[in-house]
């Protein structure tokens, strides 16, 4: 597996010196460093721009506007945990939003039915990815790179490259208009989904199977896990959650456009890998993913309020991705002592 995101390499037959146990302090530092840095940048921006940064409206914007990215990141960490990349999450999201818009606006379907159809499209895409990867044994990176581009083409085709607006108001209300504690409801949807995934990853047997499939495919197979079925399922789930992100995206904008969603891919990867360095270092984890999304967005928003130009967003996400992968490599290396 040449491009496994994280595959434990193990000491072979040679003796290994006993692993030094880390102190509790180091452990805690590693877990919560990201949260501490997050708090620190809030304090810094707050001090520099108390009137614009430290306002309820700003935080409401930060939390609300990024719920789509949160959900997309959560879609991504499922196949990543199982050792597969899904580069098609952003395209699937766009496809889902566009499907919803066309059916709801152009075809006049009721909203509920249009949402179900959008989620169904995500499931179909996930199933196709899963079949190509797990059953035909093609590298997931290649498969999803291909399907991603293919889906983007389909979106342009069915939309005639137009933005479709006029999505039914109830969806917009349920996503961005209605608020709890001043934060749009979509934030809570992302949070709820993260808690569900946390439960599945940590407290259900399938979470353990997912983890072993990702870390040691051969071990998993010889332990009786149906590896291909798990990988197939992970990609299916990724497709459905991406489609859910698409529904939220359509609700956020009140419309669907054929291209803007595609720019979510890199931030989602950055947040997923950065999330794997915190809360539960060394593992892709939902809470870490959420924390990373908001950490990155806080930084970007703060810099923009200081008057830094919009290109800072690209610098931030790109840099964070490379840094995060580097850090999670270090965490992994520490977890698998190589005879010291």
């Amino acid at each position: 597996m040449s491009i496994q995101p994280r595959k434990g390499t193990a000491p072979g037959a040679q003796e290994s010196a006993p692993a030094p146990r880390r102190s509790r302090l180091v452990d805690l530092t590693e877990r919560y460093a990201l949260l501490a840095v997050w708090a620190l940048i809030i304090v810094i921006f707050g001090a520099l721009k108390p009137n614009t940064f430290l306002t309820g409206a700003n935080f409401s914007t930060i939390f609300g506007s990024q719920a789509v990215l949160v959900v997309l990141t959560l879609a991504l960490i499922v196949p990543l945990t199982a050792g597969d990349y899904d580069l098609s999450v952003a395209a699937t999201m766009t496809m889902s939003a566009m499907t919803l818009a066309i059916l709801n606006v152009n075809e006049g379907w009721p909203l509920g039915l249009a949402i179900l159809a959008a989620l169904g499209v995500g499931a179909v895409i996930g199933a196709i990815n899963g079949t190509l990867v797990a059953l035909l044994g093609i590298e997931s990176l290649i498969v999803t790179l291909g399907t991603s581009t293919f889906i983007s083409g389909v979106v342009l085709w069915i939309s005639n490259s137009n933005t479709i607006s006029g999505i039914a108001q109830p969806l917009i209300n349920a996503v961005v208009v209605n608020r709890i504690l001043g934060i749009p409801l979509e934030f809570y949807y992302g949070l709820a989904l993260a808690l569900v995934l946390l439960y599945v990853f940590e407290f259900m047997p399938i979470g353990r199977r997912l983890l072993f499939v990702g870390r040691g495919r051969s071990v998993a197979r010889l332990s009786g896990i149906r590896v291909n079925r798990v990988r197939w399922g992970a990609l299916l789930v990724s497709g459905v959650i991406s489609a859910l992100a698409g529904v939220l995206y359509a609700g956020t904008l009140g419309s669907a456009d054929p291209t803007s969603g595609l720019s979510f891919l890199l931030p989602a990867f950055a947040a997923a890998f950065l999330g794997a360095t915190t809360i539960m270092p060394g593992r892709f984890n939902p809470i870490g993913s959420i924390a990373s999304v908001y950490f990155l967005v806080t930084g970007i928003t703060g810099l923009q309020l200081l008057g830094v130009q919009t290109f800072v967003q690209e610098l931030f996400y790109g840099g964070a991705l490379v840094l995060a992968v580097g850090l999670s490599q270090l965490a992994r290396r520490r977890d698998a002592p190589q005879g010291e």
């Binding site: 003796e15 290994s16 407290f203 259900m204 009786g224």
Partner: protein
């Protein structure tokens, strides 16, 4: 051995700790010029740490090094071992499979030498031929290293290391070079080592194979728990004495095998007409509670049997009868095999047996996850508690279930895997090289556990191994393979190490002249 000359290398008071653990505790070691010096010890005794300090990989806490009587400051810089006249062959040999023999042989020189405008491959090739000739090794310099036989790879690595030694012979360090080699390959390797020693090279031979150490070394130093237990002259020291030095106690006698009795019990499992990539038409039967060894020379196909029976490699044909149930082997998958009551402990612990970066508890629990699952939730606390108990039960040390699996020593890793699978109460346990990289103390515990479980629960055991001594110790019956077929069975007292070796070669020889058993 020249008594007057100073030692080729002398280590004094070498110490090294990792966290709270002392891996080396004031170790002394002298290797004399032209001597083959063994370094023995269990996994985790500090052998590797010692070697890595000598290679400049670790910084010791304290200690002194003298080379030919001249003090050398520790720690060595990376690569400095070359200039003080040391050369290393590590267990993984350090060869690049995708490059040619020639490129591998000259890699150090090509990478390290003065910049050159052009490498004359013709001249390099001629030099390589000449080098191989000097050592009496026949390897094609243009072959890809990945295509070489294991023995050729070993020889290449050693020739390369010897070429780097200085004129006075220097010190050649061999770190478990024979682990993956069949016996005849080991002999060729040893011939090379003896030649080198005769020409004045000192050799430090690190191993946990007692027979090999006794065969090749002049003196032996034994490490235990980071302490040097002593240095003895090999020819004057009895094997049992060496074992006592290694494990720090006398060996408990294994419970005696009862082969005649095993053969009288009913047949519990049979294999009919198994065919696969490397095996043709294999059939055999196993009695209830019987431990059957399967062996042969490398390439005779025996090593495939556990994986074919488990559905891990796909068989072309064959049936497995287990009790009343019959299974079609080409259609068997590992998950179906587990459901049928099979368990497999593969030889490649690092890739097939475990995930080193995940905790021991999760590795062990993987086989029985459903046991800890209620309708919705995994009972993590109960899992951790029960796995901890299981680890104590199997004497896995340390018995901390939250430790990463990779932090355990080889012997303890294998005990943990045995615990993982025996807790499923299998009806048929398949083993492949169960004690590879396992120290002698743990080996005994593993054998005893398998014995007792087979006797008490009537579990059948099929053990593939090329360690003939181990088979003789463990098995009620040994089946010997030659070129993909069953050649012969040795029952009970017949199955001695010598008989097994003899028959492995007989199986091979018979087939080369076209006789089929």
């Amino acid at each position: 051995m020249a008594d007057a000359a100073p030692p080729r290398i002398a280590l004094r008071g070498l110490s090294k700790h990792f966290g709270g653990t002392l891996a080396l505790d004031h170790v002394d070691l002298d290797v004399l010029p032209g001597e083959v010096h063994g370094l023995l010890g269990e996994n985790g005794s500090g052998k590797s740490t010692l070697i890595k300090v000598m290679a400049g990989f670790y910084t010791p806490d304290g200690g002194e090094l003298a080379v030919n009587g001249k003090p050398v400051a520790l720690p060595l810089h990376p690569g400095q071992f070359r200039s003080v006249g040391m050369s290393f062959v590590h267990q993984d040999l350090g060869l690049v499979d995708s490059l040619s023999v020639l490129e591998n042989l000259r890699v150090a020189e090509i990478v390290n030498s003065q910049p050159r405008w052009r490498i004359s491959w013709r001249r390099e090739r001629a030099r390589a031929r000449e080098t191989f000739k000097r050592y009496g090794v026949r390897i094609n310099p243009d072959a890809a290293v990945g295509d070489l036989k294991p023995v050729e790879r070993g020889l290449l690595a050693i020739v390369r290391a010897m070429e780097e030694l200085p004129g006075d012979g220097g010190l050649l360090v061999l770190d478990e070079p024979t682990v993956f080699l069949p016996k005849e390959a080991v002999d060729r390797l040893f011939a090379l080592v003896r030649d080198a020693a005769a020409r004045g090279t000192s050799v430090l031979f690190v191993s946990h194979d007692l027979d090999e150490v006794r065969e090749i070394t002049d003196r032996v130093t034994v490490l235990r728990d980071g302490v040097s237990v002593g240095t003895v002259t090999t020819s004057e020291t009895h094997e049992t004495r060496l074992i006592e030095m290694i494990i720090g106690r006398q060996l408990a006698a294994l419970s005696p095998a009862a082969p005649a009795e095993a053969a009288q019990r009913p047949i519990a499992m049979s294999v009919e007409g198994l065919r696969g990539e490397a095996v043709a038409d294999v059939s055999f039967r196993v009695h209830e509670g019987e431990i059957v060894g399967i062996t042969g020379l490398l390439g005779s196909g025996f090593e495939q049997i556990p994986y074919l029976l488990y559905g891990a490699h796909s068989a072309a044909a064959g049936r497995l009868q287990l009790g009343d149930a019959a299974y079609d082997l080409p259609r068997l998958t590992p998950s179906a095999a587990i459901a049928a009551g099979l368990a497999l402990i593969p030889s490649d612990r690092a890739n097939d047996g475990s995930v080193a970066s995940l905790p021991v508890a999760e590795n062990i629990a993987l086989a029985v996850l459903d046991k800890y699952a209620t309708r919705l939730t995994l009972q993590r606390r109960r899992m951790r508690r029960e796995i901890g108990q299981l680890m104590r039960d199997f004497d896995v040390r340390p018995d901390d279930p939250t430790l990463p699996y990779g932090a355990l020593s080889g012997g303890n890793q294998q005990k943990a895997l045995l615990a993982k699978w025996l807790q499923t109460q299998p009806r048929l346990l398949l083993l492949d090289e169960p004690t590879q990289g396992v120290d002698i103390g743990a080996r005994q515990q593993i054998f005893e556990r398998i014995r007792v479980t087979a006797r008490e629960t009537g579990m059948q055991v099929v053990c593939a191994s090329s360690d003939y001594e181990q088979l003789a110790l463990l098995c009620d019956r040994v089946i010997i393979f030659g070129r993909g077929r069953v050649w012969l069975e040795l029952v009970g007292a017949e199955a001695t190490k010598e008989r097994i070796i003899e028959q492995c070669f007989a199986a091979m020889a018979a087939e080369t002249v076209g006789v089929v058993a």
